[in-house]
Each structure stands twice: as C-alpha cells, then as structure tokens.
Symmetry: C2
DNA sequence: CTCTATCAGGACTAGCTTAGTCCTCTTACT
DNA sequence: AGTAAGAGGACTAAGCTAGTCCTGATAGAG
C-alpha cells in the first residue's frame, strides 16, 4: 500500500493550521481546533520541534510557531521528520536486520533508483503547493475516496 | 518510513529470477534458487499470477513464466499487484474508516498531488531499469546500508 | 518569589497489519 | 490412473503504530 504513517498526515495538518491563525499556538489549542486527539497533537509537535520545523516557546504564554513559511517546507522533509528517512525496502531501512538473501538476491541496491525517484518527487512539492490549489476541502460527502485506485 | 512491504521486494526478486534461467519455473525451484522461504515464494507467485504479471501453467511440468518482458513492467505495477493501489494516507487508503476530521481537516484531498507524483515516478521505472545498470549486487559486505539516510 | 501554563522526554499499552505457514482442492501431464 | 504442480483460503505469530500517560524542566505572570 506504500502507506505513510498517520502521524505524518497529522503533522501536515498541524503545520497547515499553524500557518493560519496566530503565530504562536499551543498544543491543546491546535488539538481543539483540528479535532485531533490532544496527546497525539502534542507528540507530533514535539517531533516537529525536534527536527526544527517548528520552534517551541516554553513557559506560560508559550507554544509553537512555524520556523519557516510553508513554501519552504518540502513534503519530503515532513515525512523524514516524522517517519525517518525514506527507505522503501527492508534491505534499505537501515534496520539491523540484514537481508539474508544478500548474496543470492539480485536486488541488492537496486531499489536505490526507485527510492531516489520518490525522494525527488517529494522534495519538489512544498506544503504550500499542497494547500494552495486543488479543489477546496469540502465536497462534503466522501471526498477522500475519490482518490482510491489512482494507480 | 514510507515503507514498501517485504512481499513486494520478494516479488521483484522473483520476477528478476524468472527473467533469467528457463522460461517456465516452479515455485519450489525459485525458492531454492533464491533462498527465500518456499511458501512465501508460492504466495507471491499466486498473487502475481492473479494480476497477470506472470502466467501459471498447472499440472505436472507446470510452473510460472513471465507474461511480459521486464522492460514492460513498471515498478508501480508490481507494487500495485502485491500491496494494492498506491495510496499514501489513511484518508486515501480506501479503507472504510472515514477520517473523522474530514470537515475540519484542511488536508482533504490534498495528498492527491503528492500521490500522483509518486505514482508517476514509479511508473517511469521498469524492472529492466532496476536491474540493468547500477553497481553489481555484490560488494560483499554491507551494500544495502549505503542507501540509508538518502533523504 | 511563587505559582502555573506550557513544553520535553520517555515509558507503556492495545490493536492492527504483515509475514509466514499449512491444508485441501483442482488441473493436466505422463 | 497416478502424480506434479498451482489455486485458494484459513490460520498464527510477531512487529509496528497509534495513542495515552506521567514526571520533570522552563519561563512568564502576578
């Protein structure tokens, strides 16, 4: 399914929300506004802060704010921040589990090109791109299903 | 991690193996040659047969053979055959679990562009591309780790 | 100076998905 | 007929993800 973690999806939504409204916003506030579970939003924000996509302000009246405008954040960077480096196959995951077919498997390293192609595609699209055009969010009923079977 | 299922990795390896050696090969034979677990190879082959990438020949002296040369098989097609349609986010997975943030979430449908970019990237690369160039499989030691942190 | 709102960081749990196995049935060559 | 193969599906186990919670650190407000 080549799936992305749900956390990444959350992260994009959170970043988008931060770009609107007040510059500094708290985790609970964003959770409330986006209807996402609060602890989850907090977790995502912490991760984003750790990778520098958002800046945290501690203490009372603290919160998070975007470190950069959305136009300067490629989708790839968000994915990397949340899910770790893009690495399609088990062989490539950097996991300590070394593929034991290495010797016989004709695939060793072959996924590199594919991986690169995806990385480039994702680096070329910024969050601003994602949000700007395309049809407005609300076609009410089942807007997300339309995408099914794209490939 | 944007991970691909291990099954897809197996599938590519199996297809590559089918392209070499005799035209018709049995599941146990391929398993033996590639050192992959036999039931798993069988399962992958059945799935590939179901989506038409390989043709099965039943009965004694049966087996599987490629339906098309590798140059005519885009990586995207293998992924789709094994993992189902490429759909990055939960919203998009075609799962019955409708994203309950649909109304408030500014993301609805926004992943479409990203999804398309990936689909195109994966459609442009054929299995033949994957196998032809790039360094030979064996640099012995840790060839797959080199790819880590690509993004 | 103290109080409190807020983030930091990690431990923990439950559920789901994937990988992998196995069994039975069908097909068709010898 | 007998047998070598695939078809198709049920089942199990392990790993990962999502989600929750707790404790500590920070810094503004009063």
């Amino acid at each position: 399914m080549l799936r992305l973690s749900k956390m990444t999806d959350y992260a994009v939504a959170v970043l988008a929300h931060l770009a609107r409204g007040p510059a500094v916003q708290t985790a609970p506030g964003i959770a409330l506004a986006t209807l996402m579970p609060e602890p989850t939003v907090a977790k995502v924000l912490k991760t984003l802060a750790a990778s520098g996509l958002v800046t945290s302000l501690r203490g009372a009246r603290g919160g998070y704010r975007l470190s950069r405008p959305l136009a300067d954040i490629p989708v790839a960077e968000v994915i990397t921040a949340i899910d770790g480096p893009i690495a399609l196959t088990a062989c490539v995951e950097g996991s300590p589990t070394v593929c034991e077919q290495q010797g016989s498997c004709p695939m060793s390293g072959r996924w590199l090109r594919v991986n690169d192609a995806i990385r480039e595609a994702l680096s070329a699209i910024t969050l601003a791109d994602m949000l700007e055009s395309t049809p407005p969010p609300a076609i009410a009923a089942p807007p997300m299903m339309a995408i099914e079977g794209v490939l």
